[in-house]
């Protein structure tokens, strides 16, 4: 990306280089928004409803297009054509702005999320710090929506969301610390470059503390994204639709768009920080082919975690607000602090890392997956037929 822009600047010396660079970044950013974020968020909504239905032995949306694939386009179109209802008692300016802030907060995170070795809107020096910082806009937007709706459900939803996000931001930041310690940089590309394509070179297998950090990070990221089992801000059975209660049409859809899009952000962050990001073996010298392979590598890794989040949502019940706070402050924060200290100690003991530890950790994780798979097979074999598919 940068090389291309530099080449462009060299070819047009009469235009200031800064302007060209900014224009290039904006163009790439717009491309990412329209060609990647919106379709991915939309398709995720369909995938989520299908996966969810399958897990709960239902069918899910299957009418629009092959297997219901075009459902997201139909829903988007429907919501765009709906009336934009603004209730009389709301605080109108804030009510109108709130969905945009939420979407802006999550889209802005994509600036520093790598899609490949050279595919990134801007490789910021403070990449990961920037992502955790800019997502605060989402909290402000949600609070704004909750307050301006002038409705008790919305207000409670907004307050719950703020409590949750500002609490879980702390363990989330602390679980990123060990990764930063190991890779020695805050840049997302730098963190990826510090890992290799082979699993044992990933940060999650660097030392036992990082493996725990990885699990904590995923839990905290789910909480930050308001996902089940942490979806208290919009708990349907308690708060109607939480902070989104008074919203209708496209404004309401924007909140959901941000939620589904945020799932990809979570997945991409897990992949980048702990699972080697876009790293692929250097199988060819063709840069285009390599870039495509890198893109699909990080996309598949990220989407795997999106799938796990859907799976969790379909299987786990929602926790109570006091349990939520206790989990964060009594368990996650101390564990995350211990992880930071532990990683620092480990790095003093093994400044170059330890191959034995890495391979042992890979073996442990493989063993856990093996045991889990056997248990699932055992239970599936004993399950009664439900009259849906082959299960």
């Amino acid at each position: 990306m940068l090389e291309f822009l530099n080449g462009l600047a060299a070819a047009n010396p009469e235009v200031p280089g800064v302007l060209l660079r900014v224009a290039g970044m904006l163009a790439f950013g717009a491309l990412v928004v329209f060609v990647f974020i919106l379709p991915v968020a939309g398709i995720t909504s369909w995938v989520e409803r299908r996966v969810w239905a399958r897990i709960q032995s239902r069918i899910g949306p299957n009418r629009v297009g092959p297997g219901g694939f075009l459902q997201w386009l139909a829903d988007g179109l429907k919501n765009l054509l709906k009336e934009d209802v603004i209730p009389q008692a709301v605080d109108e300016p804030l009510f109108r702005i709130a969905p945009y802030l939420v979407v802006a907060g999550f889209v802005a995170a994509f600036v520093a999320i790598p899609f490949g070795g050279s595919l990134i809107i801007a490789d910021l020096n403070i990449g990961i710090l920037y992502i955790t910082a800019i997502t605060s806009l989402v909290v402000v937007g949600i609070l704004m929506a909750g307050w301006s709706s002038n409705n008790k459900w919305s207000m409670l939803g907004g307050i719950r969301s703020a409590t949750q996000i500002i609490s879980y931001e702390i363990p989330l930041g602390l679980t990123i610390f060990p990764v930063v310690l190991v890779s020695g940089t805050l840049s997302t590309q730098g963190i990826t470059a510090a890992q290799g394509w082979a699993p044992h070179t990933w940060h999650m297998f660097h030392n036992p503390f990082l493996l725990v950090s990885f699990l904590l990070f995923f839990v905290c990221a789910l909480a930050e994204g308001n996902r089940t089992p942490f979806d208290l801000p919009e708990a349907e059975s308690e708060l109607v639709a939480g902070f989104a209660t008074e919203y209708s049409g496209m404004r309401s859809l924007l909140f959901f768009l941000a939620e589904w899009g945020n799932l990809y952000v979570i997945g991409a962050l897990v992949a980048t920080l702990f699972m080697g990001g876009w790293q692929v073996p250097r199988f060819t010298d063709d840069p285009t082919l390599l870039a495509v392979a890198q893109f699909f590598t990080i996309f598949l890794k990220a989407y795997f975690w999106v799938f796990v989040a859907m799976w969790v949502r379909a299987t786990l019940p929602r926790i109570r607000i006091d349990q939520l706070m206790a989990l964060c402050w009594k368990y996650l924060v101390p564990m995350a602090l211990l992880n930071t200290l532990g990683t620092a100690f480990f790095m003093v003991l093994f400044p170059e890392g330890s191959l034995v530890v890495r391979i042992a950790l890979v073996a442990v994780v493989l063993a856990i997956i093996f045991v889990f798979a056997r248990r699932v097979r055992f239970h599936l074999a004993r399950a009664r037929g439900l009259g849906y598919g082959a299960v």
């Binding site: 900014v22 804030l94 920037y130 402000v140 207000m155 996000i165 500002i166």
Partner: protein
Amino acid sequence: MEGLSAEVVVFFFLAGVAVVGACGVAFATHIVYSALSLMLSFLGVAGLYVMLDADFVAGVQLLVYVGGVVVLTLFAVMLTQGIRDVKVSNRSAGRGFGLLTVVAVFALLWRSFQAAQWHRPVEYLAAESSTAAVGNALLGRYVLPFEVASLVLLAVLVGAVVLTRKETAESE
């Protein structure tokens, strides 16, 4: 770079955002609007930090001020009952003291303007990360103030816990 270069335009835009936000804080009649204007002002200042190549400070500005201070302010406002009905009627109260503050701050700012070295040669350091420099300074030259600051923060935390605990004990 003379005249209206891209940097100048961006600078005035960001400075404008910061100033408009600050005015909003002072003149808004509703406390929620004040808090949100404060966020606008903080965002503008974060942008100015980016222009000064202080990317780490900009990130921390966003994280602490927008993510922490503004959110907590909004949070407190929302938890307080009946704050919607508060009408600020005494907006002209304390004029003398206000004037004094303005004069004092203005004098301080003027002195800083005088003391600052303007017209520095422009060096582009954007490729260099300021994170390492900040880290080295905090744990090297400024380690004592840094530790003292963390001690102060700890005292504040303990104080907050003590205050809130006392309140619940009395109400029970």
